[in-house]
Amino acid sequence: MTAINQNQLARWYDAYGNELKLYALQWSPDQQAEDIVQDAFIKLLKQRRPPNNVRAWLFRVVRNTSISKLRFWRQRQKADEKFLQQNVIWFESSPDDLIDARLAQKILQTLPSNLREIVMLRIWGQMSLKEIAGITGKSIPWIHKEYKEALEMIRKELEHSSCIKKKT
């Protein structure tokens, strides 16, 4: 294995950058999330050799950096408020979408942070439960339980929203 070159880095950036930023947006405002993602890639560039699972490594670095920054600022409450108030668009809207992008974002934002993180990693990070367990430091059965719980909450929220739409 050799050191990482810039072409390799650019390929990984194109492949995982957007998902990583979406993941970082859970903890940080827009610009800060971008900085965290960029820092993660710079850290990757400084590795003497690439990690075995680059994608999982990047997600782990983004997670650790985001959480440590939150701890540093001691403003979790304010950050959460900022996070809920921010007008950053998470998903691209498309007429073919089965779920409205704005609605999905709204529902995800209201999920408890631990459940939201697992959904993000599983669906948009395309990670296995084992990889998610490795990143979050939880057991696989626990991750599975929380993932099912999150899906159930999303389903209920979607049903609730569609009921409201029908009534209106």
């Binding site: 880095l9 971008e34 560039l45 998903f91 498309s94 389903r155």
Partner: protein
């Protein structure tokens, strides 16, 4: 191994529906990132490392090209000798068994003071004869 497929069909459908949503594509500033990456890759050679390398090279050069013990100097043209050598000599202490008065500095001083008679003194030093100079010697012969 935990089975990831342990989801109900409704959960699967919801999962795939959510998976259709694509994160915003231009969420990141790629140019800015590539610039930062380039700067970071250059920044890996830290200034202190370069400084220490320069110091090491200087140290090696000073060892390799330091002035030797014997140096040759060029005299200006027309001088008697074109070249001469400076040979450094070390002070040799008197050999063991000789009295202190036979040591080189003292002998040299005596030669300067009394002339070559001092050398006679050196020869007679082993016999413990009294020191006489040339005048006294002449007087003793004539008398």
């Amino acid at each position: 191994m935990y089975k990831e497929e342990n989801l109900t069909p409704a959960e699967r459908a919801l999962e795939s529906a959510l998976g259709q949503l694509k994160p915003v594509a231009n969420a990141l500033n790629r140019d800015e990132f590539m610039f930062n990456a380039g700067r970071a890759s250059v920044g890996r050679k830290l200034p202190w490392q370069m400084f220490s390398v320069a110091l090491t090279v200087l140290l090696l050069c000073s060892f390799l090209f330091r002035p030797g013990m014997n140096e040759t100097y060029n005299l200006p043209p027309g001088s008697k000798q074109n070249q001469f050598q400076i040979v450094q000599t070390q002070y040799q202490p008197a050999e063991a068994g000789y009295p202190d008065s036979m040591s080189y500095p003292i002998l040299r001083e005596n030669v300067i003071k009394y002339g070559l008679d001092a050398l006679q003194f050196q020869e007679n030093a082993g016999n413990q004869k009294p020191l006489i100079n040339q005048k006294e010697l002449l007087d003793s012969i004539l008398s």
